[in-house]
Symmetry: C2
Subunit: 355 residues, 2 copies
């Protein structure tokens, strides 16, 4: 992550006004030299619609995400290239969360004229980098102006073997609940960045030292989708009975899984995987680590359920952690360190109440 | 079109704040009771991604459009239900313009808290009406808040027989250029609505009489996609060599067709199909009819090229009009009523220069 301190601006920015290129010129510039790498991409950018030829015996997956400046990101500390990268990755994450592989992406971008062309170059550079990393073709979209701010709406297309998409509702009452990686980091990264922004606004000459928070900041600014976990489970011969990605916080995702399956669940606080640097940040900010995990969101890890019979396949694997199990009785609970059952509450984006 | 005068507000609007429902409650309300009618829809709204199973021997088409308040629409005279309908239809139009059939739709919506829940109900009612009319399944999306205004990003998925997608670049030098319906109406409808808005702002008690402009206003507020033309051409056994929909103005679309084919074109002013009511409005507003057709846009008619051999099949058909032909030499020209060759100029959205 080279841009560890995004609050420091480029001293020599090029600023070409959007009006200089116009709509068609801008689209041509942003989509120049795109080369399709997926065999399923027949026609990419440049026609009324992209043409995709799915592999035989595959289902297609379609996922859309919207990112709005001032709601989902703050350009005071989000570098534009990271924004583009993250916007693409969160979409890919939805495709992996269905057990599939992303193959194509469309990008709709609305931007006010306060952004120079070079800013959009940066956003697209991030999107292209994500596409290259995940082997996804950018095949279309729409670019337009907006009265204020920057809005990105991305739609990912993916493939999965016919009938093999992993939904939210397939868990059985005795299934284990498993998460990939560790949780709460993206939320704590956001706390660090918000604090540094306040410090920066108070004294722009102060050079923040963010090196000790590099991990949570990277979790927030440049998340990755867990393509490797989908591949790992396939190698282990384990088919999740249900799966989601952790975008809104583990609590919300567990409530979705229990609602969709008509079951309940119990997860254990002492099993929640949390990175030591994140734990340290929680302590410093006076935030309960379980709160960061359950309500924080944006970690883009996978949470999934597996049959008890698969326990031998997954136990001890350093990339995934069983944190609890489904229950026949309804209700979703955290068993805290004191052994008490605490009901989980839905969070989701609180954007509508915050404004 | 019952809402001929949208500037008059509902005297008893229900106003439920968005914060009362929250994100998940809002999504549930907006997507309640959706029933899939397309056999290719396997999983619709409610998972990380929709699952689509394309028909055997079909290619998939993907098209994204973005509509931004204050750029693409003005809620002073655009009823929310019409906005939703139009947002869906312009996407479907892109799929028909490839010779395909739209089958699924995702909707990403960013909205400020000044909108009550009932406003989004209206937008979704329009989207659902369009989906029902065109037999498209609403299968997913994203709903979030925005600091200001209303932004809609819709992605349509469609199908076309394998290898049969009609692109922009297939025209031959002697092909005829044909348009469906008539052109310029949407642009003149916009002029009427803008004038009435100004009148209304000056004196809100004045009841505008828009009845004589019903046709152009309907073209602007409630366009339809030319599904019937795609079907007609199939019945006639005519396969267009290239095709686009007229969204940015005929001039821009012709420049796209010539650029993509490496050819030129000539169209004749006296062949341009214009409705008498639109002609009358042009006269009243002092706008040259050819300007409304060439630079106006938003008519969502189809412009396509056909081989000379197909002329007998299409001639005299009241739904389509040959307006000119491709040329081996480069350059795109209008032959005006005086017989002069006038070069066509690209327009597109001038949004970036207007702000």
């Amino acid at each position: 992550m080279p841009e560890i301190c995004p609050m420091i601006e480029d001293p020599n920015p090029q600023r070409t006004p959007l009006s200089e290129l116009g709509e068609f010129g801008l689209i041509e510039r942003l989509t120049a030299d795109l080369v399709a790498i997926q065999p399923s991409t027949v026609v990419g950018v440049g026609d009324d619609a992209a043409v995709v030829r799915p592999d035989a015996d595959c289902d297609l997956l379609v996922s859309t995400d919207l990112l709005v400046e001032g709601v989902h990101f703050d350009l005071a500390y989000v570098p534009l290239q990271h924004l583009g990268y993250k916007a693409a990755v969160v979409n890919f994450s939805d495709i992996y969360a269905m057990g599939g592989t992303p193959t194509q992406l469309t990008v709709a971008l609305a931007v006010s004229s306060r952004f120079p062309v070079e800013a959009l170059d940066e956003v697209y550079a991030g999107i292209r980098r994500a596409c290259a990393h995940y082997r996804v073709d950018l095949v279309g979209g729409d670019t337009t102006s907006s009265p204020s701010g920057l809005t990105l709406a991305l739609t990912a297309i993916g493939q999965v073997a016919r009938g093999a998409a992993v939904g939210r509702g397939g868990a059985q009452a005795t299934d284990l609940i498993v998460v990939s990686g560790d949780l709460g980091g993206a939320y704590m990264g956001l706390q660090v960045l918000e604090r540094e922004k306040a410090t920066y606004l108070a004294n722009p000459n102060l050079q923040p030292d963010l090196s000790e928070y590099q991990y949570p900041i990277e979790r927030q600014l440049k998340p990755e989708a867990r393509k490797d976990i989908v591949e790992l489970l396939a190698e282990l011969g384990v088919k999740p009975t249900s799966m989601m990605d952790v975008s809104d916080g583990l609590s919300s995702e567990l409530l979705h899984l229990t609602k969709a399956s008509g079951l309940g669940c119990v997860v254990f606080e002492d099993k929640l995987p949390i990175d030591p640097v994140v734990l340290h940040a929680c302590e410093e900010f006076g935030i309960h680590p379980a709160t960061a995990v359950l309500n924080g969101g944006e970690d883009y890890e996978l949470v999934f359920t597996v049959s008890l019979e698969d326990y031998d396949q997954i136990k001890g694997n350093p990339h995934i952690t069983p944190i609890g199990h489904m229950t026949a009785s309804e209700g979703a609970y955290l068993v805290n360190l004191a052994g008490e059952h605490v009901p989980l509450a839905a969070q989701g984006w609180k954007a509508f109440t915050a404004k």
